[in-house]
Symmetry: C2
Subunit: 461 residues, 2 copies
């Protein structure tokens, strides 16, 4: 009897201990997340870093002097944040340089008008005298084919297909419109076009040209390509209806210089239990030359640095090695992300997970995971810890172009998802400035990312 | 046997019909919500209306010429939106007018510095020569009591308690700090203070003074009160630590003119089945004189007008009478909301529900309902229709100060909840401008509000 009672007592104590300890743990995680948010929301380091990138290293396109300034600055910022190790990883990058650019239309009926344009990245320039020709407006690649070489040869093609503003996720609207920028020049060149002018890929109706890369297939002649602001695209379309014979003059003298050497900037906290497993958190350090690169993607960079700072400040010692990576050359050809993955493969590194923040500095809505089934459910179960912070979206499908090459190494792909509504009013334009960033949205994002990485490292997936 | 078979067949057909028709209905609701969002996201009426309010009727405080311009403009906008009836409702409003204002500090050690200030609404002005005195910094009302009359008499009290930036919902942070603005002057006057200078109630560290009303209890002498920007509050605090004897000079010549007549602007769509039941959707038309009143609350006004326009455009005929109401004088004493409810009570109107949009023009997160239990659950069940639009927050607790008086008439109180992170960087300051509003955030909000009102009217609560 006494023995049975003792046994019962023992079992009860054990049960209480288990219950108690597991409850304590859940509370501990909640407490740690709370402290992560408290730290992020009351500190201005990331904010100051972003100000520096936007003012002293604006227009930091791969190979530019500003990009090297940004590299040096983020090395120091990672050291100040307390990273155990900080180093540079050599990356070969294209070196495209914008020059003089001017575009105007001239109509015997309507007069003259200068258009707000921006040469597309990788575009060739015009001859010194420029291109002058009549303009054919098209709305998709089928129209090009229907027009054919006879009608297109020697002409300037005006791609004017707008983003679909009805799509709630602005990335979908952008995705539906961006092909005219990426492939318009190449496609039009097949039919002998002299140059292309492309409606900016944005939902906004604004005066800013939104630039970006264009890609020429190997088998076509490279022709000059520029983006035009959506307001001027509307105007050009109206003028063309009134005077189809109007002429457009375009001069651009951009240069494709030889590939050059640049760097990814990497800072890490060595893992306490599994130092040979890596979790990568990154944004890209390069930014379009006409922008300050605040939303795209200075914010993603400083949020990754901030994760390091917060972990160190709060004595959070991750089990796995956690890295903040500033990728170089996302905007033109993604060699930063590719090099990072290639070298990781060569060294036989085990990459457990990778998170990319490259969707602007807006209030956090959540995360997207490249996972399904039980794995997705397990990742989604983390969402309960985010309820106090009103971060509710834990959805399937996520990643980013810089971390995509890590997928082959088995790294879980995670995309940080801020609210998307404003993003494309800044994207790739002179409107992407520091003063368009709100400090709390930046801080909330940093806290969300640091919190997710902490839980992911603790619980696994 | 044949009879039984026939009966079974009949039942089956009925069952299929019910299932099918209910499925069709669910699809119909989804389709209608989709069309509401499509319409909002591709139309710029509300955007243009907001531009007008911000440029031609900026600073439209109750009683001001700009407020009457705003009244006239919204009458026309409601008519253009297709409201069946549009009318003005007389409201008695206070008429406070800002004048010259200047504040500077002077220290024998540190020099001179002008501070960025804004006189608080309803404040009395200083005597023509101004007030000059040393300054005592306090952080809550207890410190006042501890100091007592001997130390406070004739001095300028500097209330410097910051908003708690750790609070995720910025309205909570604001709520914790706003008492120094509302009651600081009254409390300090009890101890004989000559004037008060109050830290702006915002999370932002900025150069903008954020104004707002101050309230004097009947039993105190009214003393001048101004808000100071948070950056200058920090500076003043630092200077006071270095030179506690520094003096502050304040001149304000604002005026409290006699109460005057103004108007709520009301437009309605007559209900098709229950015309005598009312659903009110509103924002406030008045705005602080130093602002354009874009986020606070031009956005809420044009979203209510947009609901009318969308319903009419899409031939949505609500069962109940749906009203868009631009309330006057929310900012100072709320007589617009009170008058609206008083007259409704006098007429014996049945007010079914009321929604207020007065939290800025940010991406919609959802709605707050003043309901609980089954009623709340029923309202929350609407959230499934909002999944495609990523609007997920259907929470308990909601309303707003203009619709609060309708609660006594039984109206369900609903608050429209956009993301809160940026709001207090605009609130009551010169930073609340049209160019700080994103068109898609405005459109998404209009669509969300129109959709919720549509479902509420269809399903009831």
């Amino acid at each position: 009897m006494t023995e049975i009672l003792l046994k019962v007592r023992k079992t009860l104590i054990l049960l209480i201990l288990i219950l108690f300890s597991s409850r304590l743990n859940a509370q501990e995680y909640e407490k740690i997340l709370r402290s992560v948010f408290d730290e992020a929301l009351t500190d201005t380091s990331a904010w100051s870093q972003l100000r520096y990138l936007c003012t002293h290293a604006a227009g930091r396109l791969s190979g530019s002097p500003a990009s090297f300034k940004a590299i040096q600055f983020t090395v120091n910022a990672l050291k100040e944040a307390g990273a155990d190790t900080v180093w540079l990883q050599k990356v070969i990058v294209p070196h495209w340089v914008r020059g003089f650019e001017k575009c105007s239309i001239s109509s015997g009926i309507l007069g003259e008008k200068e258009l707000s344009i921006s040469t597309l990245g990788l575009s060739v320039g015009t001859l010194p005298g420029g291109v002058k020709s009549s303009v054919i407006e098209v709305h998709d690649f089928n129209e090009l084919r229907e027009l054919g070489r006879t009608k297109i040869e020697g002409k300037i093609i005006f791609f004017n297909w707008p983003a679909d503003n009805r799509l709630i996720n602005t990335f979908s609207g952008y995705g539906g419109a961006v092909n005219q920028r990426l492939s318009g020049a190449g496609e039009a060149s097949r039919y002998g076009a002299a140059a292309v002018i492309v409606r900016s890929a944005t939902q906004a109706l604004d005066d800013f040209p939104h630039t970006g890369t264009t890609r020429y297939p190997d088998d076509v002649i490279k022709i000059p390509a520029v983006a035009v602001s959506t307001i001027d695209a509307e105007l050009l379309s109206i003028w063309l209806k009134k005077d189809p014979a109007l002429s457009l003059s375009l001069i651009t003298d951009c240069k494709n210089l030889p590939d050059t050497i640049s760097y990814n900037v990497i800072g890490e906290i060595r893992g306490s239990e599994k130092p040979d497993e890596y979790i990568t958190v990154g944004g890209h350090l390069d930014a379009w030359d006409i922008t300050e690169g605040a939303h795209d993607d200075g914010g993603g960079c400083v949020q990754a640095i901030e994760m390091i700072r917060i972990f160190k400040k709060l004595n959070i010692n991750p089990k796995r090695t956690v890295r903040a990576v500033m990728f170089m050359n996302e905007e033109i050809s993604g060699t930063g992300g590719k090099t990072y993955a290639t070298e990781a493969a060569e060294k036989g590194e085990k990459h457990y997970a990778a998170l990319e923040s490259d969707r602007g500095v807006m209030s956090p809505r959540g995360f997207g995971f490249d996972a399904q089934g039980e794995r997705l459910a397990r990742l989604q179960s983390f969402s309960k810890y985010f309820v106090p912070f009103n971060i509710r979206d834990f959805d399937a499908g996520g990643g980013g172009s810089d971390i995509a090459p890590l997928k082959a190494l088995g790294a879980l792909q995670i995309g940080y998802i801020p609210d998307s509504q404003r993003y494309f009013s800044y994207h790739h334009s002179a409107n992407d400035t520091f003063d368009q960033v709100n400090i709390r949205e930046l801080q909330m994002g940093s806290a969300a990312i640091a919190s997710l990485i902490y839980l992911l490292d603790q619980f696994g997936y």
